[in-house]
């Protein structure tokens, strides 16, 4: 059905896809794995000739025997969506924000003159029909992704390409979306090409797996076999990067750490209007301890973190840091904030694109009027974050750095103030598999060398297994379970923890 022959794509002199050969038969499911910049999305976009004009495409892209590259524009438009459709990453901006989703689903049907009803399509992705009248911003991430799937199926294509369909969704929602996709592919005998940086997601969904690295297809085979016996070192690195819960090899935190409390949260409640976002939470982080706060999106974990940092006033309850209640205002609050630093999920948006690394890292020093030589403090922080030698990076702008390097800059910006607690909100969620491991290792090393405690907020139980000493599970504003990593993740006592663990895709 789909056949790529010697496909190469260049941007100027840069070759982003290099001589790729792939075939996909009807009813077959193929996973295309690789890190950002590996060329996997470029391959997907080339199938419907959606690459920007600056791209130069060589080789053949045969869709049912017909070469997409040489089609007339009219023929190409007819093939788009009716012959093959794409499930874009719906949590991002793949839906028009000012149009009702029902209209957006109906649009290709009207355009291609195919029969079908929005109601029926929504039913197939398990959404109630009244959601057709909703605008994208009124839907959750999972619902938007279902809308994308419904839209992709609107014209009854034989091939569906799913580009990172579950990235940015939490584990439970991801599992639901994957289930819907799997069911529909099986029911309708569709060909599915699924693109992801997450091998475990592909392992859940696809029979076949192809791995891309720097534009080349380095490995292809049955999913189980590729993952069990990777032949190419890059595949091996990808499989190793995703922690398996319960596997001692993936448990990087040194065990056996008992600590006196640094941060204590007692009976903390936060209300948004009538909504109780955080409900009577007790939580402790010891000196030098790493605690993972896990839960789905909307469970209140981010609100809890913001309240701990003094960015939000609690409705009731106390936050105690280093034996003293956290001040609510004034100089004392500022001094407290210096000791507790925040690391956000997406370094690209956390960094000001026009500030050099030096300016970004030094900003905290200036805000807090830290005495001493700025240059040496910035250099030390940047080197602590493993950007060595610092002189190489100090004058770079964020866009000149890779995602992993950007996250190190964010961490350096926190370290420069010599904090005692790091609050990290999904610190590795937007990073590639190989980089992710490096950042995890960095956080652990900072703990070892500087005694830095961390509160890691994540929906990723694998990360908790890798890095944390203790885990607290949050659900609907409450901490439903907390304890040591082994105890919570291997012998969960609460149903919700068990549900979370079940939703984790298994490699």
């Amino acid at each position: 059905m789909l056949e790529l022959r010697n496909l190469s794509v260049h941007y100027g002199h840069k070759r982003v896809v290099d001589d790729v050969n792939l075939t996909l038969a009807p009813g077959q499911t193929l996973g295309l794995a690789g890190e950002s910049g590996s060329g996997k999305s470029t391959v997907a976009m080339s199938v419907l000739r959606l690459l920007p004009r600056t791209a130069r495409v060589e080789g053949e892209i045969l869709l049912d025997g017909e070469d997409v590259a040489t089609m007339s524009w009219g023929r190409l438009r007819a093939v788009r969506w009716a012959g093959a459709s794409i499930v874009f990453q719906g949590a991002m901006h793949s839906l028009n924000p000012v149009q009702r989703v029902g209209d957006q689903i109906a649009e290709p049907m009207r355009l291609h003159g195919t029969r079908g009803s929005v109601r029926e399509l929504l039913h197939r992705v398990e959404l109630p029909p009244e959601k057709a009248r909703a605008y994208p911003h009124e839907l959750s991430g999972g619902q938007k992704q279902r809308v994308m799937i419904a839209m992709a199926l609107a014209c009854g294509p034989r091939l569906v390409i799913a580009d990172e369909p579950t990235t940015a969704l939490d584990v439970v929602v991801q599992a639901q979306v994957l289930a819907v996709l799997k069911r529909l592919v099986a029911e309708q005998d569709l060909g599915l090409m699924m693109i992801s940086h997450d091998l475990s997601v592909l392992a859940e969904t696809c029979d076949e797996l192809a791995v891309m690295h720097r534009g080349e297809l380095v490995e292809r085979g049955r999913t189980r076999e590729v993952i069990a016996n990777p032949r190419h070192p890059h595949t091996a690195a990808l499989t190793a990067a995703f922690p398996v819960i319960g596997d001692p090899a993936h448990r990087w935190a040194e065990p056996g750490r008992t600590a006196e409390p640094l941060l204590e949260v007692r009976d903390l409640t936060v209300d948004y209007g009538r909504t109780r976002a955080v409900d009577a939470v007790d939580l402790t982080v010891g000196r030098g301890e790493i605690v993972a706060l896990v839960g789905q999106s909307g469970s209140g974990k981010t609100t809890l973190a913001r309240t701990i940092m003094g960015l939000r006033k609690p409705s009731s309850g106390r936050v105690i840091f280093d034996g003293a209640e956290v001040p609510r205002s004034g100089k004392a609050l500022k001094a407290f904030r210096r000791q507790v630093q925040l690391v956000l999920q997406d370094p690209a948006s956390a960094l000001n694109p026009r500030h050099t690394v030096r300016a970004a890292v030094a900003e905290g020093l200036r805000v807090h009027d830290v005495p001493g030589d700025e240059q040496s403090q910035v250099t030390a922080a940047v080197e602590h974050a493993e950007l060595r030698p610092a002189s190489l990076y100090l004058d770079s702008l964020p866009h000149e750095l890779s995602g992993g390097q950007q996250q190190r800059v964010v961490i350096a910006g926190a370290l420069v103030l010599q904090p005692r607690l790091l609050v990290a909100d999904e610190p590795v969620a937007s990073l590639d598999a190989s980089v992710r491991g490096e950042i995890v290792a960095l956080l652990l090393r900072l703990r070892r060398e500087l005694g830095l405690a961390s509160l890691i907020i994540t929906h990723d139980l694998g990360l908790a297994w890798q890095i944390a000493d203790r885990v607290a599970v949050m659900h609907q504003g409450k901490i439903v379970e907390q304890g040591s990593v082994e105890q919570v993740l291997l012998n969960p006592s609460h149903d919700y923890t068990r549900a979370l663990l079940r939703a984790v895709p298994q490699v």
Partner: protein, 316 residues
Amino acid sequence: MRLASRLGGAALSLVMVAVLGFFLFRVVPGDPVVSMTRGRPTTAAMQAELRAQFGLDRPLHEQFWGYFTSLLRGDLGTSFTFRRPVSDVILERLGPTLLLVGTSTVIAVGLGLWLGVLAAWRRDSAFDRTTTGVSLTLWAVPTFWLGMLLMMVTGDLFPSRGMRDTDTAPDFLSQALDVGHHLVLPSLTLVAVVCAEYLLVMRSSLLEEMHAPYLTTARAKGLRDDLVRRRHAVPNAVLPAITLVFLRFGLVVAGAITTETVFSWPGLGLLFYDALTGPDYFLLQGLLVVTAGAVVVMNLLAELLYGVLDPRVKVV
């Protein structure tokens, strides 16, 4: 609830405008009566009489209260120069201004947004470079200079002074044609000067949307390029331009001081000019209240319209 707060905000702004209108011209140094009678021989008794006539001899708070209460009744005081109620003078000039500035603004907005869309869609093409370059040049050129240049270039083709000729037949059609004829040069000047504003805002706003993922979705669905633009890109890109357009509509009432002066167009802009040269304090005060009020009202309308066009903004 949100609507109420928006309305309340607008009402508060209007009150501020009224207060500002009063005190702005009171803190300006100089005695209004002295400047009003400048160049004419006056006695202290005549000045005192004038003061009494315009209520300037009363304490400031009484003056303000009198001004504020009559404002609420729609009474803006009496003009020094015209010796007539300010509201009558303003109303009389409102029509010509709405005609000139209203027409030009509608044309400039339409043309600017349309050219902006085309320029962004064909970024860096000859079309983009030419339209952007030409409109920027016109934007940079002084208005009076452009007006005079147009007068010279077109020669006797179009009238260059006033709004109508005295010898035109009194029937509606001839009058309308005459006014239309007079309208050509001043409105052309205005369109040429302000068009760039909308063009540039629309262009940059659309350029920002050009790489939005939902446009890739639309293309992948098989939509023709112009449909991708019309149905998906423009409805999103036009949003930032809305506020600008409505602020501009609010300023329509302020007239176009330079253009109206150059072409002797009997509108509010020319009235502003005359009131400033007077200076006619009550007239200036009245003009300020009316024009600022129009901006506040239009801004409110823009916010309400925004709520209709962008579902993410909940106004009502």
